[in-house]
Subunit: 187 residues, 2 copies
C-alpha cells in the first residue's frame, strides 16, 4: 500500500495533518506494517498558507505507481488549476485505485477530469465551483464514489482519515486509531 500526498504552495496544513495523522498510525499500530507514503510536489519544498515550509521527498514522480493519492485543499488550489505543468503531473494518477481529496483539493481532482460523472463534495463555500467538474455535488462531510473519495472543509480531514483507516484496515483499526488520537466527533 503506497500513498502519495500531493502538495503545492498555499495548502492548508490541517487539511494534510488531519488525514496524515490517523492514516500514518496504521503502520506503528501494526495494522498496515508495510504502509508507505511520499510527500510529492512539483518542487523540493512547499509552503502552507502562512509560509510554513515542508520538505518534499519525491519531486514530480509518476503517480501511476501509487495505490492512493491524497490532495489537501488550500488557497493554492485555485492557482494550481491554471498551472499546466501541475495538471499534467496530477493526471498521471488517472489509473490510481483511490483518488482522495480534502476541502478544495476536490477542485484539483475535478480539473484533472477525475470527477466526471461522479458524486463529490468540497469546502462548503465552493459547491458551485465544484459543480461543473462532477456529476453531482453532495453537501456531505465525506463522499465516496467508485475511485474517488472527497471530504469537506478543513476539520473533516480528521473524519476522512478515520474513514480511510476503516477502508484500508477495518473497523477495529479505525477504533484503535481513534482512541490514540482521542478524537470523538458527534455521531
Amino acid at each position: 500500500m503506497q500513498i502519495a500526498y500531493i502538495l503545492y504552495d498555499n495548502i492548508t496544513l490541517l487539511d494534510l495533518a488531519g488525514v496524515y495523522d490517523p492514516v500514518s498510525r496504521l503502520r506503528p499500530l501494526g495494522y498496515l506494517p508495510h504502509l508507505k507514503w511520499d510527500l510529492c510536489a512539483l518542487q523540493e519544498s512547499v509552503m502552507d498558507s502562512y509560509n510554513l515550509s515542508i520538505q518534499i521527498n519525491k519531486v514530480q514522480p509518476n503517480l501511476a505507481v501509487y495505490d492512493m493519492i491524497i490532495v489537501p485543499g488550500g488557497l493554492g488550489s485555485r492557482t494550481m488549476i491554471r498551472n499546466p505543468q501541475f495538471m499534467k503531473w496530477l493526471r498521471t494518477a488517472v489509473g490510481v485505485r483511490w483518488k482522495v481529496s480534502v476541502c478544495t483539493g476536490s477542485l484539483l481532482l475535478g480539473a484533472a477530469g477525475f470527477l466526471q460523472g461522479r458524486r463529490a463534495t468540497t469546502h462548503f463555500e465552493q459547491y458551485e465551483a465544484l459543480a461543473p467538474y462532477c456529476g453531482q455535488v453532495l453537501q456531505d462531510r465525506i463522499v465516496e464514489d467508485f475511485d474517488v473519495i472527497t471530504a469537506g472543509a478543513v476539520a473533516s480531514s480528521l473524519d476522512l482519515g478515520l474513514y480511510l483507516c476503516e477502508k484500508l484496515a477495518g473497523p477495529e483499526a479505525r477504533l484503535a486509531v481513534q482512541k490514540r488520537m482521542n478524537y470523538w466527533p458527534p455521531a
Copy 2:
C-alpha cells in the same frame, strides 16, 4: 500578540497543526490583524515522527519576548527532557504570560519547572509521568491554571486552538473560526 511554537524532532504534526490552524485564522479573519508567530527550535529544521521535515524561522530565540509559547507533544518530548540545551532554552520562557502545551508537550513544561503547584493535563497514558512535575493532574481535555494551559492527546489540539481563539479574541471570533474549519466537537 506574538506566539512562539516550540518545535523539536519527533513532534506529532497534528499536535501542531490542530492548534496552529484555528489560532492563525484570527489574523486573516481580522480579529487579531497584528498577530505574529514564529516556528522556533534548537536547529534550522525539525522532523515529525514520520520524518516530515519542517523549516524553522527562529533558531533558539530568547523566548522572553513572546506573549505565548505553544509546545506540541510527540515521542521526541521524552528525548528533549534529557537535553540540557533544550531545557535551558525553554526556561527563557519563564516569564511568558501564557505557557501552552498539547499532549506530552506538558512534560516539557513540567521539566522546565513551569507546572509547579499548578493543575495540568497531558496524553491519557502519561498522567503518571506528569504527576511529579505539577500540583495536580486533571484528566480533562483542556486545563487552565494561571499562566499555564495544557491539553490532552492529539485531537484535543483543535479544541485547544478554539479555546485560545476565545481567550485571545472573544467568543464571536471563536465561532467564526469554528465555522471556517467546519469543526463541531460534541458539547
